[in-house]
């Protein structure tokens, strides 16, 4: 425990450093700014804004990226409440009651409770990270290749199970992602694989910025233009921003439950904010005291999922920081950014780069405070931004994607890849294949292969090594269990119903 406090003190020192404070502020502001734009979720936002952070030193860089992430998350909720277009899956449930509240002229209260809930959840989950990460990192230090391999398999399977639409398509997407991740130099033999006859830019692999921006950014723009939605902005009356005492009292339970649920679910590989907000909403519907009017503007229907998704967004850093394994596509992008900086996330980061680790944790507190301070007065600005017509907005998105993609490695090859992945992404969209599993597979591909090969080498080619180690066995059993749960018809139907509810 004393370590934790020492760490937090050190982290506060790093986070309150004026330069880092500035980048935290920039991250939160930019993240919210882009996150507010309809159709741009946190993955696209983080990928699009990543080039801004790469020129910074690593601590400032990850602080800024984290700020962008929760800014984007919050911005997405703002859009969900005001225009009923959730920028991302995790604010889908917020839109249900939030938009109804906006229609009733209570947009202010919905936005206010979202901010308050998020802030509270952020504070609690940051504490969870501070306490749990060192413990988990201790365990992680005992991990060998088998455990890493099995854990990553579990992560990939979770991503498949949680994907919308067909399970088979999600499986295909993961496998394709793993394969795309293997493009480039094979670290064991030095052979360049799938580099299309030795294209030098492919030696380091396909750029994940091109993949994410293509799939989530440009393909999204094309799809939005192909089926223009008529946005109806409900901002005639935002109403008072601070919720009334009655509303606040009603929401306390929802915020607490949402925070607890979100903190736990965020840690799960493949889980994160999405699973958290869905479960929090359904839990709230079950346990909330009457009178309930969920679906018709119940403030608890905003408070619970918003607290949960922010808590989940924060705690989803735990697997990345302690194990080096990204739980979802956003963490995959952040992992990529850290690797560009020459930092391989894992249990060793805490001991080798304590200022980075604790600085990030402390900056989450600071960043969450900024979110509240920034967002409540700036709601007017976000509303004005939402009034900008999409036809003026999408060229700006394209400009950012193209120049950002180029800037990551100063090569136009990335822009060509971007165009290719945009076409693929559009196809996936129309073929009902969700891109998130592909991105996770893409980032984990080289790691999974490496740990698989290492385990097999150490076991002299005996594949039972994954089953004889208790922890590794537990992860694999978990993965199989998840698959079975989805494949068994009754439970599969429940999954369908849960997805339908959104």
């Amino acid at each position: 425990m004393t370590d934790v406090f020492g760490g937090i003190a050190m982290g506060m020192g790093a986070a309150l450093d004026p330069v880092n404070l500035l980048y935290c502020f920039c991250g939160v502001l930019l993240g919210t700014l882009v996150g507010v734009l309809p159709g741009l979720g946190p993955v696209a936002t983080v990928a699009m804004l990543m080039p801004f952070s790469l020129t910074l030193e690593p601590t400032s860089s990850i602080i800024m990226l984290a700020g962008i992430y929760y800014g984007a998350q919050y911005g997405g909720s703002t859009t969900a409440i005001l225009v009923n277009i959730p920028g991302e899956a995790s604010s889908v449930v917020t839109a249900i009651d939030g938009y109804k509240m906006a229609q009733q002229g209570r947009a202010g209260a919905a936005l206010g409770i979202a901010a308050i809930g998020s802030f509270f959840a952020g504070c609690v989950s940051t504490m969870v990270i501070a306490v749990c990460s060192p413990l988990l990192a201790q365990v992680a230090l005992t991990f060998r290749a088998q455990e890493y391999f099995s854990l990553m398999v579990l992560g990939v399977v979770t991503a498949v199970v949680l994907a919308h639409g067909s399970l088979l398509n999600a499986l295909c997407m993961v496998v394709l992602g793993l394969l795309l991740g293997l493009v480039g130099t094979d670290v064991n033999s030095g052979v360049e694989r799938f580099t299309l006859g030795g294209v030098p830019e492919l030696a380091d692999g396909i750029s994940f910025v091109a993949v994410t921006m293509g799939l989530f950014g440009i393909a999204e723009v094309a799809a939005n233009l192909a089926s223009p939605e008529h946005r109806t902005l409900r901002v005639d009356k935002v109403g008072r921003i601070l919720p009334t005492c009655h509303e606040l009292a009603m929401s306390v339970g929802a915020i607490l439950r949402g925070t607890a649920l979100g903190s736990v679910l965020g840690v799960l590989p493949g889980g994160g904010a999405l699973l958290a907000s869905f479960s929090a909403y359904s839990l709230e519907k079950k346990v909330a005291r009457a009178p309930t009017h969920f679906g018709e503007g119940d403030i608890r229907g905003v408070a619970a999922p918003e607290s949960a998704n922010n808590a989940g967004a924060q705690t989803s850093f735990i697997p990345l920081l302690t194990l080096g394994i990204p739980g979802g596509p956003v963490m995959a992008v952040i992992l990529g950014a850290l690797m560009v900086q020459g930092i391989t996330p894992g249990p060793q980061v805490m001991t080798e780069r304590p200022e980075l680790f604790w600085g990030l944790i402390a900056s989450m507190w600071v960043g969450n405070l900024m979110l509240v301070v920034l967002n409540l007065p700036l709601i007017g600005l976000w509303i004005r931004l939402l009034k900008v017509p999409y036809r003026a907005l999408f060229p700006a998105i394209l400009v950012f994607c193209c120049i950002g993609g180029y800037a990551v490695s100063t090569s136009t090859f990335e822009v060509w890849s971007l165009a290719l992945f945009a076409v693929l992404g559009y196809g996936f969209k129309k073929l009902d294949c969700e891109p998130a599993p592909l991105v996770l597979g893409f980032v984990l591909g080289p790691l999974i292969e490496e740990h698989f090969r290492r385990s097999m080498r150490l076991s002299d080619g005996d594949p039972t090594v994954f089953l004889t180690m208790p922890l590794s066995l537990a992860f694999l059993v978990g993965a199989v269990g998840l698959m079975v749960m989805v494949l068994v018809p009754q439970i599969g139907a429940v999954r369908q119903a849960a997805m339908q509810e959104a």
Partner: protein, 169 residues
Amino acid sequence: MSTTLQRVTGTREFWAGALFTVLGLVFLVYSGQYRIGTAERMGPAFVPGALSGLLVVLGLASAARGWSPKATPLDLGPLRPLAVIVLAVVLFAALLMPLGLVVATAVLVLVSTLAGESFKVRDALLLAAGLTALAAGVFVWGLGVAAPLWPALFDSLLSSGATSSSAVP
């Protein structure tokens, strides 16, 4: 017979499966170039070979769902927005190095405005000018992205070093 085939090839399931099968085959054939090795000493082809084989099997299973009566018809939607946007991105990629960021960005914006609802020429030009200035300001001056601002020709004529190609991040 032909009607069944028409129905099947008009489904989302069939095309998703076909896409994965083809991509799997490409990776499978490509993996053939590398050494497979043994389970204890895997060569570069071992893991990708196994994965691409798996992708082919899964892809075929996915395509088979196209025969199910519950299959969904494929609707690609209007393809013009995608085509125009991809063209704009490709033009940007092709023009950035020879003509510089200003021209490439302006072309990107102008071409992309053809993708959506009709733009007034004046609005499109204004948007292009604004976004180009923003891009140059933010990325080249602000972030020090190493990109030529103007055509290489200008550069050699003026040789004033006005292009900002500052340090690579």
